[in-house]
Amino acid sequence: MHLLSVDMTIFLEKLTMIAIVVFALLGIALYTTLAERKVAGVMQDRHGPNRAGPFGLLQPLADGLKLFFKEEIIPLSSNRVLFILGPFIAMFTALITSAVIPWGSSLELFGRKVDLTIADPNIGVLYVFAVVSIGVFGIMIGGWASNNKFSLLAAIRGASQIISYELAMGLSLIALLMITGTMSLGEIVKAQMNGAWGGFLGWNVFVQPLGFLIFLVCVFAECNRTPFDLPEAESELNMGYHQEYSSLKLGFFLFSEYINMIVSSAVMATLFFGGYDIPFVNETHLGETLGNNLVAILGVLMLLAKIVFFLFLFMWVRWTIPRFRYDQLMELGWKKLIPLALFNMLITGIVILLFDK
């Protein structure tokens, strides 16, 4: 099984992992749209969609089909190639962020040890940042190529927002990286599993509460979610950068937002909430009684539970907090979060210098 000096079994293994992760992401994103509407409903004393299938479970399929069968409109005065490229980039970057997330420890299948990670490079955290900064182009190109004032304004808003908040996000993470001493997401999770109470007290959120808060706010801004959803502010910009889009290309944009949400929830869970660590349980002890495979699967489910919690947080905040004004957004990013992150870095540095010899 060797081709071009590459072990083809590893190749196949990774390919299966990629396929599973991508389809799982798409599936979860599909149902996140339903969850979003349901959560919106119950928070406003309504029921939310409940007609298509039991509890409205078929609603996402109906929505998807509707989008699929809509007429594909490409405005005459738009830049055709870039107009199509925009949603493609948005979707692509949203999906490839998931490559470095450790979904679980490892399974033993057919006498092989299969890591439940697509890749665990030693620059995992930076990779996430790189992909996010590339993701801006999807919005910018899509907005510009539509040849519409509102789209262009929205695109520029979105891009400047994402660039601004990426700074604070990076600075808040530097403090975390000073403690962990590695940029590999897999290593960060493993380090957190060694804490007391079965790893619970080792979670980075207890070491870096301020860092987590800054990171959380920045993630909301990066995902263009309320209260930072200025790029798609309906009341000011009609629909934002996807105003001229229709059919599946619009679907791609909307979907990429949800996939971004899921992936950033996974990143938050991994960096600050112990990833696939099951709290109050010592995994190695449990592995001896239950078998390692079962514990690994439980870990994956635990990570999924954490992701679901963060997704709920995303929606909860969306239906509670109103939108920021643009100058308020920039002020929060540049004048509040960045100094706060620098301060957090300073404190972390001092503590490490004094107590961690």
Partner: protein
């Protein structure tokens, strides 16, 4: 409030209630500028709303009860033997403020006694439901107890023509052929009469 007060006071509206709240425009203190406690407050409110009773009425399964004085679509009444009560006197059409009622009278022929109660009857009786304002003056004007407003409203239609209701649409079911439907419609009418009577006496 005297009109000669300060510039601002001149333009201020008189307070209509005593619930007006004076806005506090002091600069925010540190805790307020943090926003986090307020955000937590707001999120607590939305969280509580998840468990509250839903205001939705699931329409086709659940229906909202009409008010006792609700006036809906018209019904042309029959007597116990199934004869139309309307004698085409035209009082309802005269009473109608929206001029929604049109009728054409005809003389009862021999052998039609089981169809019409009086010697004169309405050969054509049309109500334009787009004009009608459902005021109920027709039912008050009728000397023969022939027209009533029921508790249903006009369903949607594709054309304007569909809203001009003729006799087949308005007539109550025949008590001889469809006694069940008749008593149902009749019951509604009696209920309404009862309610209105109570309303008037009260």
């Amino acid at each position: 409030m005297p009109a000669c007060g300060g510039d601002l006071k001149r333009y201020m509206m008189q307070p209509l209630t005593n619930r007006a709240k004076v806005l506090d425009l002091k600069p925010l203190n540190f805790m307020e500028r943090l926003y986090l406690p307020n955000i937590m407050n707001g999120m607590w409110i939305t969280l509580r709303h998840i468990f509250k009773k839903k205001a939705t009425i699931q329409y086709p399964e659940e229906k909202r009860p009409f008010s006792p004085v609700f006036r809906g679509l018209h019904v042309l009444n029959r007597d116990e033997e199934g004869r139309e009560r309307c004698t085409a006197c035209g009082l309802c059409a005269v009473a109608c403020p929206a001029e929604a009622i049109t009728m054409e009278a005809a003389e009862r022929m021999k052998g039609e006694e089981h169809l019409y109660r009086e010697e004169k009857y309405a050969a054509r009786y049309e109500i334009n439901m787009l004009r009608c304002i459902f005021c109920g003056l027709c039912e008050e004007a009728c000397p023969k107890d022939a027209i009533y407003l029921s508790e249903t409203f006009a369903p949607a239609n594709f054309t304007r023509k569909g809203f001009i209701y003729g006799k087949p649409d308005l007539l109550i079911p025949d008590p001889k052929n469809e006694p069940g439907d008749f008593s149902l419609a009749k019951g509604q009418i009696e209920d309404r009469k009862e309610k209105v009577r109570k309303d008037v006496t009260a």
